[in-house]
């Protein structure tokens, strides 16, 4: 059974329909990517799963439970965590406090310190910046902090919205390496990216979203080889 299943999801912003009934699933342990151009509805999909946006119709099932109408905090408490677009770290709080906020939903407070150690292993640079205000970090470090904060919640499914946005190419590679490492630890990942090339290179499967509908789907390798995808998203053919 799929860990996350989205069925016929329809979402609108006022009169404008952003998603016209999309369906997809994410299996336990996978990396699945949603790729597509600006305005295709990628972020809307993630926002709706996290209950930041209301669905008009359709169904979202997580771990066998219907979460379509659950509250944002209830969803986080079930281990479905989002790394939002634009990082959204708590700028005046220190790195440590940001990480502690990430663990807000957890009940196993004793193990939080262990999670923090794990996060420092992944992002040694954050440990150096522990008492620095989050807002003073560089863009790359802020992205790392955003991922680290999400990991502090001990996610089972991690939703990542454009983790490569605005980062230098070398940092993009670093972030994607880390995504793979997190996945290897057993965290399922749903990745939304404009950088289709990078996203398809680490994903198991992918979906191509275009103006609110799913145009193509399949194993990541097949999508990367698909002439349509190459032309539209991979810059050439």
């Amino acid at each position: 059974m799929a860990l996350l299943e989205v069925k016929d999801l329809v979402v609108s912003y006022g009169a404008i329909r952003a998603l016209h009934g999309i369906s997809f699933y994410v299996d336990q342990g996978e990396i699945v990517t949603l790729i597509g151009a600006n305005g295709a509805g990628k972020s809307t999909t993630l926002r709706t799963i996290s209950a930041l946006q209301r669905a008009d119709s359709g169904q979202i099932t997580y771990d066998g439970k219907d979460i379509t109408r659950a509250s944002a905090s209830a969803i986080v408490h079930q281990g479905l965590i989002q790394v939002p677009e634009g990082r959204r770290i708590f700028a005046p709080l220190t790195v440590r406090e940001n990480l502690e906020m990430g663990a807000y939903s957890r009940k196993d407070k004793e193990e939080v310190a262990a999670s923090m150690e794990y996060v420092f292993q992944l992002f040694p640079r954050l440990k150096e910046r522990l008492e620095q205000a989050g807002g003073t970090l560089s863009g790359g470090e802020q992205q790392m902090l955003a991922v680290a904060r999400a990991l502090m919640a001990k996610p089972r499914l991690l939703l990542m919205d454009e983790p490569s946005m605005g980062l230098a190419p070398i940092l993009v590679e670093e972030i994607f390496d880390i995504i793979q490492e997190i996945n290897a630890q057993g965290v399922t990942i749903l990745l939304v990216e404009q950088n289709a090339h990078m996203a398809l290179s680490i994903a198991n499967r992918g979906y191509v979203l275009e103006t609110g509908t799913i145009q193509l789907e399949g194993p990541a390798k097949e999508l990367a080889a698909n002439p349509q995808v190459q032309e539209a998203y991979l810059g050439g053919g």
């Binding site: 905090s73 209830a74 906020m101 807000y104 904060r149």
Partner: protein, 420 residues
């Protein structure tokens, strides 16, 4: 050692507070402080409590509110009505605020448990349920509990010495005023807090105006002839003593401090920093906002009771919306998100502008106040936009994020020992 470090600021804080208490109580007992300055001190304390509440709502939780004076007025009138009725041998005010709010709380718990079974109940639905049970609670109290318990309570309290019964009645009046402010802010906050900051500000301004209009008409459209509408309520006993002021003030400061230092306080701050991010770490944003709003309003209600029983006279005009800018100016001047700033600026504000200005400047100058206030604010915005005190706090009030830090420190310490 750790324990001493943590407690020291607390001891200092309480020590200094007690000292201030004595420094003011002694001249009061000896008759050295005249009524004018006594009034100024009490007024300063009341305004500071109102402003601390606003700082919790605006400074710490980021919800711009102009409604603080509305809740101040509710607290003032509600508590004044309780003591006024008591003086006229009527315990109904006492019983209504006491049992009405207790019953409401009980019903709220039941409604909350009931609504928890549904996903994402819309704010208006919640508002409807909570309002209906509130009306039901007060109707039950007025209709059944007051006739049932009224005579008994009266004879019970009259059997006590007057000094004791007065303190009991005054305590219930103050708590009742605060509770009325809390209940109205809860009901008002459910639908309105969801609007987001700017719209919330406008809605709270509307609230203050509605309250003022209602107070103008307490004897005509509301069933409270003793409040005398726009003529002003007279005959309120002057029961506020320095001890009551001090206790209420310390209550406000310590409750606010402990709230902000708790994990709930952390959610309140996180909502201010970034609502979306707070939601994504699993914080129930709506509850955090309502909590800060209700607690802040309770402070205002309590201050209203203190002020009413010092002035012994209430007039709707003192709660109009121009007045409601006072706490806003003080909180911005003192520093949003600084309790220390609010406390010092609140007292200073009343001392300088109401105390010294009237005494030492030529008469008529106080009419210039509405020119002076905006000028001060303007200069402030230009020279020191973060407020006089920024986010500075005296050690006792300083927020930390203590709960999780311990575990990480505990891991670091053995390392140091090895190095030594």
């Amino acid at each position: 050692m750790m324990l001493q470090k943590l407690r020291k600021p607390g001891f200092y804080f309480l020590g200094i507070s007690l000292l201030i208490y004595i420094v003011i109580q002694v001249p009061l007992s000896l008759g050295l402080l005249n009524n004018y300055w006594r009034g100024i001190i009490f007024w300063g304390a009341a305004i500071t409590m109102v402003t601390l509440g606003l700082n919790l709502i605006y400074g710490f939780n980021g919800q711009f509110s102009l409604g603080q004076y509305g809740f101040y007025a509710i607290g003032a009138y509600a508590s004044a009505d309780v003591t006024y009725r008591w003086l006229h041998g009527d315990t109904s005010g006492l019983l209504v605020v006491l049992f009405g709010s207790l019953l409401s709380l009980l019903f709220y718990a039941l409604v909350a448990a009931f609504l928890r079974r549904f996903y994402r109940v819309s704010a208006l639905t919640q508002f409807t349920y909570y309002t209906l049970v509130t009306i039901f609670a007060f109707w039950l109290t007025v209709q059944y509990l007051v006739p049932l318990l009224g005579p008994g309570t009266l004879s019970l309290l009259q059997a006590l010495p007057e000094a004791v019964s007065r303190q009991i009645v005054f305590f219930v009046a103050l708590a009742g005023g605060a509770a009325m402010a809390g209940i109205s802010s809860f009901l008002f906050g459910i639908p309105v807090l969801e609007l987001g900051s700017d719209y919330f500000g406008i809605a709270t301004l509307g609230f203050t105006i509605i309250i003022k209009v209602l107070l103008d008409n307490t004897d005509t459209i509301l069933p409270f002839p003793e409040m005398k509408g726009a003529r002003g309520m007279i005959g309120i006993p002057q029961w506020t003593t320095w001890t009551w002021v001090f206790l209420s003030f310390m209550f406000v400061v310590i409750v606010m401090r402990n709230l902000l230092h708790s994990s709930v306080g952390r959610t309140i701050l996180a909502v201010r920093e970034d609502e979306r991010a707070a939601e994504l770490v699993g914080i129930d944003v709506a509850s955090a906002k309502i909590l800060a709003f209700v607690v802040g309003s309770i402070f205002a209600g309590l201050a209203g009771g203190i002020r009413a029983h010092d002035l012994a006279f209430l007039h709707p005009q003192s709660f109009n919306f121009v007045q409601s800018f006072n706490p806003l100016i003080i909180v911005v001047l003192g520093g949003l998100g600084s309790m220390t700033g609010t406390i010092l600026t609140g007292f200073l504000w009343i001392f300088l502008l109401e105390g010294f200005l009237r005494l030492y400047l030529p008469p008529g100058f106080e009419t210039w106040r509405l020119v002076v206030y905006p000028l001060i604010l303007l200069l402030m915005m230009l020279l020191r936009p973060e407020g006089l005190f920024g986010q500075y706090e005296v050690p006792f009030l300083r927020q930390t994020f203590p709960s999780l830090r311990k575990s990480v420190q505990a891991e670091e310490e053995p390392l140091k020992e090895v190095a030594a």
